[in-house]
Amino acid sequence: MAQQNIKVALIGNPNTGKTSVFNQLTGLRQQVGNYPGITVEKKIGVCKLSENTNATILDLPGTYSLNASSIDENVVIELLMNKNDDNFPEVIVVVSEVENLKRNLLLFTQIKDLELPTILVINMSDRMQLKGIELNIPLLEKELKTSIALISSRKNIGIEKIKELILNYKNLSTEPCLNASSIDKEYFDKLRKAFPNQLLYKLWLVITQDVNFLNLERNEIKNSFTKSHADLKRLQQKETIKRYQFINDTLKVGQTIDVSKATDIRAKLDRILTHRIFGYLIFFVILFGIFQSIFEWSKYPMEFIDSSFASLASFAKIHLPAGEFTNLISEGIIPGVGGILIFIPQIVFLFLFISVLEESGYMSRVVFLMDKIMRRFGLSGKSVVPLISGTACAIPAIMGARNIENWKERLITILVTPFITCSARLPVYAIIIALIIPNEKLFGFMSLQGLTLMSLYLLGFGVALISAFILNKTLKIKTKSYFVVEMPSYKIPMFKNVSINVIEKTKAFVFGAGKIILALSVVLWFLGSHGPGEDFKNAQKIIEENVYSSKIPVNPSVIPDRVSEYKLEHSYIGIIGKSIEPVIKPLGYDWKIGIAVVSSFAAREVFVGTLATIYSVGSHSDEEDTIKNRMAAEVHADGSKIFNFPTGISLLLFYAFAMQCVSTLAIVKKETNSWKWPIIQLVFMSGFAYLVAFIAYQVLK
């Protein structure tokens, strides 16, 4: 029998556990992409419903209603109104949750008006007892004209019921649960007569979308039926009131809340976690714990990966047939790829902690807590979310700023987010900190290296705030703003959600950066192992002549090292590096570091991979050697270490501030619709980074 496929759209308010439901239904059979032309994340997964029926589930961005006020929300409406869209659903699953059912049902009633088969999922049933909530499901099903699945995605209860309802979606009623057109009978009758073949609510959405998004081309309907903005807004308000009246009446009989039975500790916890002194103190202690753990816990797996790649390179060199391609593998590809894979443990731990904080509901408290501080710097509490997600990557963080309705606050958030320490900076920080900061403990428990890492994160955050303050004073854009944040209940993080998030983020880091690093390793190895002119070709002869004609006796065993060094200096990469040396020398960098800095303009994490490749080419040894050891062993002509304290600090500061990410510049251009802002960002951030690194090196040396 042929395999059947049902297209399902998963819709719901933010914080209803929609993603948990999606994860439970699809497991790891997920694909993450973007909607065409825009950068809103699109998640599609497959769920097996029966022997011969699958469901393709589309996880749509969280939305509070069909009156979209952001681009994310608009994606939902555009999809539901376009029957020709490839992803147009056959059935809609609206996810709500027991504690905020009243608010969640607003979206549900709007979707029901589109006359599509709709299932209502009420999530977090495990919290009903805690909150003293009881639901009369048969009555709610009757009033809302739908089938309801009462579930707990956290405890994996009721997931089979959702599958069963999707499988039998043809039995669902498509009748709306209320008559919203009664808010202005005359207007809607006129509309109905003019477009008798069109669904009335769809027409209404088309008209009101124009009100919210101004630029949409809805020509025909717009020309004949658009009232003034004020009138339409008034009608929208009337519609919302009408819907809430219906929801109130329904819940009055379908839901009972007995506060005396509630055993929740949320209020007590909130009082402490959002306290004006303890709140910040707790947040700081949590951050401190995270950075300590990142360094301490990832030490051993990192050492293992580093030595494994060193062994692999040495194994390849010895056992593969000698020749150019073997050299490429053992000196270019393996050290280059190893230079990025070594940071997987730190990335995993960072995202593990961030996911746990998000899943537990603590992050929303942080947003609330930080709003007061953010306002002083011209940002909103909502800017905290992009700023925190900036620790992963500035690109989704900048896209996340779309939630900020106020254009000035949004622009400032976009411009300062790249200062936040992203996961691409982590490899650079980690290796330099390990080289210049001793692995010692302060007061017996505080790792100095962990403390330095935390200081760099705080530095990034501090500079972002100061820049925001300056931008707020200089940008002449007049806007009004408000701040509304939803505080979800505290939950024990779900292992499945946390692990899927960690796997996705790590995969994006490894495969996104890994492919570029692999390709760059090949190019860099080639440029480092080939060179123009006679100096490169006759390196062996020149060094031998120098050694034997020297009056100072030289140990012949150093000749191979000197030849490698000489060849590297006269290779293509050596020539490029030497030509930029005058610019970077005042910062304390030699030409090899210069090459790594220049190549990492594409992406910061390339820095370590580049150095790993350059030092690997510059060494003649077949012995196993780790990236860290190679970097630690690099010396100037006078025998002093290249990666000393002043150079290390200068590099750390340079990477903390420099705008070294082509993809971020591209996304800023897309989000601001102008080259002006990414160019300002590039010039200001890189210039500032150069200046700070210069001052730091000159003072410390």
Partner: protein, 50 residues
Amino acid sequence: MNIQEILTYLALALAIVFLYRKFFGKKKSKKIVAMMVVGVVNQFFCKFEK
């Protein structure tokens, strides 16, 4: 020119094409692909003649 050299030049050509496509977009990459092919073939014959 031995097999190791051919593989090396092939890897280099692939790496350059990949990076070009990554940073300059797929549309503009036809020209660079053609140039790379010419380069590799040219390199191959130069070495082969020697």
